[in-house]
Amino acid sequence: MSEPILHITGLNKSFGPVHVLHDIDFDVRAGEVTALVGDNGAGKSTLVKCIAGIHGADSGTIEFQGREVHIRSPKDAAELGIEVVYQDLALADNLDIVQNMFLGRERGSAWLLDEASMEKAARETLASLSVRTVKSVRTPVSALSGGQRQTVAIAKSVLWDSKVVLLDEPTAALGVAQTRQVLDLVRRLAEQGLGVVLISHNMADVFEVADRIAVLYLGRMAAEVYTKNVTHGQVVELITAGRSGDIGLARPEHAVL
């Protein structure tokens, strides 16, 4: 078993009196897809935002590649190689695929962009992910379907040599075929050696691509289990009740609150 690339211990986060995350332990391993599941309000988004540097954690340690790091801003996260692909897609519709993938990190001098090098790199990245359904890389993003947009957003994180990619509900708004494409892409990201975190509500998706499943229940990490060791029903129980058989949170009468 490989060392986790991202190792979080004892993370707490409160918004005023509301204690959103309780002593979260969470690992992301390179080359694996870790699904982060939980009911609405369980704290999935908050955990991702703590990792991405959007919220600072109140306490707890984050180790990245075996070294303790402090992530205070999205920029810190980006410098470490942690990329977040947001649900609402941070793409500019009027720009083409190449322009979007390099937005904010254009190559060439400020007064003469190196379009050729950017276009080549973008095409190579898309090809390395076996993306075949995108039109010419000079197609404006506005002409792409939802799945293709998601693909571009994900490919952007690969282009930047990210180590960990956090995907916030990448298939939420997609049709069947497009979901298929994106899940394939998620799998390929892991095969390329990235640590992938997939937030999803869709159990079928999770069971299809995830190597491990981390279940949040009311701000606590109820379980981190290997997908092959659990059944669909057990995960649903973990999400709704926080425990299932011997796995999950201790029974309330034994729990130390």
Partner: protein
């Protein structure tokens, strides 16, 4: 619409009814017919660009040519270019503001302030203190200083430099020199833009409100500078007079033609073949050649016509391309280069397309939003030089209501979107030409001002409708 439908199949072989570009990661070149089909499918999806404006322009020219004998006369065509140049130049600056989804209602009167300062510096032989009176003069310097400080706070150093240069010119009392006057007008415009930009992007007021307030304020400033009912003539300066009324020599005209057409051909073909060699996405060579040939033919034909004597009077000879043509072309090339090939231009489009995405990508949104107002006001000052030269004087109405509305109208008619993110500098030129043709043609037909206003308004309304409908079309095509 088949071409635009996202294809879901994972099979590597494209079915016959699928556009080749759907599997286009490997496809960098298309055949001519494919490119034409692709263009048509883009039109259907609502990406019209400046096509409606070009079609409208052709229609207008046909209508006016059939109704008026004079319209197509060489003298009138040359005159038309000079008439429309001022508002066209202002429209070029407004394109930058429209691209980030803002509006600058003060561009017209800001240009009027620059024109008034220019005229006053000329008429008072550089003694702005004497012309304005000490209180007004100090406030003018303070405004330039404010522009410099605000530009520094925004880290727009060019804005600071220009504003400080304006203070130096104004305070040093240099004697009248047309080039110094034009530079001072430009500096004034830049300083005004720095103030507008700061108020919109740093303070966070809606640009509509800020520029509406400044529109009124600058109108008052012009009145204060020039005085109620006053007119300051500038046509006695040969340079200031010739900006919009002079022509290049015949030799100069052909030289311009060679530089412009040759430069365009070299840049376009050089880029095309470099991209082709390196295996990047290109248009078919035939279409590129067609474009270059078309532009070249138009350039050569226009030069040939404009170098013929077009004087209606037998005793005077008027030949050559008007100076406004190289001025507008120069600004067009610079503006297009900045928007298409530089990081700054890329970020302008990104902010206009999706401000939040640009912010997350690390673009300094505040600075970009402020800077477009600086560009707009600076370019508007250049427009003021041209229209003041055309009229030969500056009066308190300079840059008044119609100037701005025509300039915004020109940008929108040309295809720049009021919703941000879409538009090119060439849109302003095409739209400006449309409006100049309308005003000129209706004038030749001796239509009263009422009809001119109504027709111009309807043209603008039509353009805005096309913009809105094509946006709706584009939105529904993807979902």
């Amino acid at each position: 619409m088949n071409e635009k439908e996202p294809t879901m199949t994972q099979t590597p072989t494209a079915s016959p009814n699928t556009a080749i570009t759907d599997f286009g990661i490997d496809t960098t070149t298309m055949s001519t017919s494919e490119a034409v089909r692709d263009y048509i499918s883009r039109l259907r999806a609502g990406q019209l660009g400046s096509l409606p404006a070009l079609l409208g322009l052709v229609a207008l020219v046909i209508v006016f040519a059939s109704l008026s004998d004079v319209f197509l006369s060489l003298n009138n065509l040359a005159n038309l270019l000079a008439q429309g140049a001022g508002q066209t130049i202002i429209a070029m600056g407004i394109v930058f503001v429209l691209l980030v989804g803002e509006i600058d209602l003060s561009a017209g009167t800001a240009s009027g302030v620059a024109g008034a300062v220019l005229a006053m510096h000329f008429a008072e032989n550089g003694n702005l203190l004497g012309g304005m009176g000490s209180t007004v003069f100090i406030m003018f310097l303070a405004a330039l200083g404010l522009g410099a400080v605000l530009a520094a706070l925004l880290r727009i150093w060019a804005g600071t430099a220009m504003s400080v240069l304006g203070i130096v010119i104004a305070a040093s009392g240099m004697s009248a020199n047309p080039w110094i006057e034009m530079l001072l007008a430009l500096c004034t415009g830049t300083a005004i833009g720095c103030i507008t930009g700061y108020l919109v992007s740093r303070i966070g007021m809606p640009s509509f409100v800020v520029t509406l307030a400044l529109f009124l304020a600058w109108q008052g400033v012009i009145l204060q500078f020039i005085g109620e009912g006053g007119v300051i003539g500038i046509s006695s300066s040969p340079v200031l007079d010739k900006v919009a009324n002079g022509n290049l020599s015949v030799l100069g005209s052909w030289l311009l033609c060679v530089i412009a057409v040759g430069g365009f051909a070299a840049a376009t073909l050089g880029r095309h073949f470099t991209r082709l060699r390196r295996g990047l996405v290109t248009q078919p060579t035939s279409i590129v050649l067609f474009k270059v040939g078309g532009i070249g033919a138009i350039g050569i034909a226009a030069t040939a016509l404009l170098t013929v004597n077009r004087s209606p009077n037998d005793n005077i000879v008027i030949t050559g391309v008007p100076y406004v043509v190289p001025i507008v072309l120069g600004l067009l090339v610079i503006g297009t280069y900045v928007l298409n090939r530089t990081r700054y231009g890329r970020h302008i489009y990104a902010v206009g397309g999706n401000r939040e995405a640009a912010r997350r990508a690390g673009v300094n949104v505040t600075k970009i939003r402020a800077s477009v107002f600086v560009v707009c006001s600076s370019v508007a000052a250049l427009g003021a030089i041209v229209y003041s030269s055309k009229v030969g004087s500056v009066d308190p109405q300079a840059g008044g209501l119609n100037t701005l509305l025509f300039a915004v109208g020109a940008a929108v008619i040309g295809g720049a979107s009021l919703f941000g993110g879409r538009g090119r500098v060439s849109d302003a030129v095409i739209g400006g030409t449309v409006l100049a043709v309308v005003a000129n043609g209706l004038g030749l037909l001796r239509q009263p001002a009422a009809v001119v206003s109504i027709v111009t308004g309807l043209v603008l309304l039509l353009a805005a409708t096309v913009d809105a409908l094509s946006r709706r079309r584009a939105a529904s095509a993807t979902r």
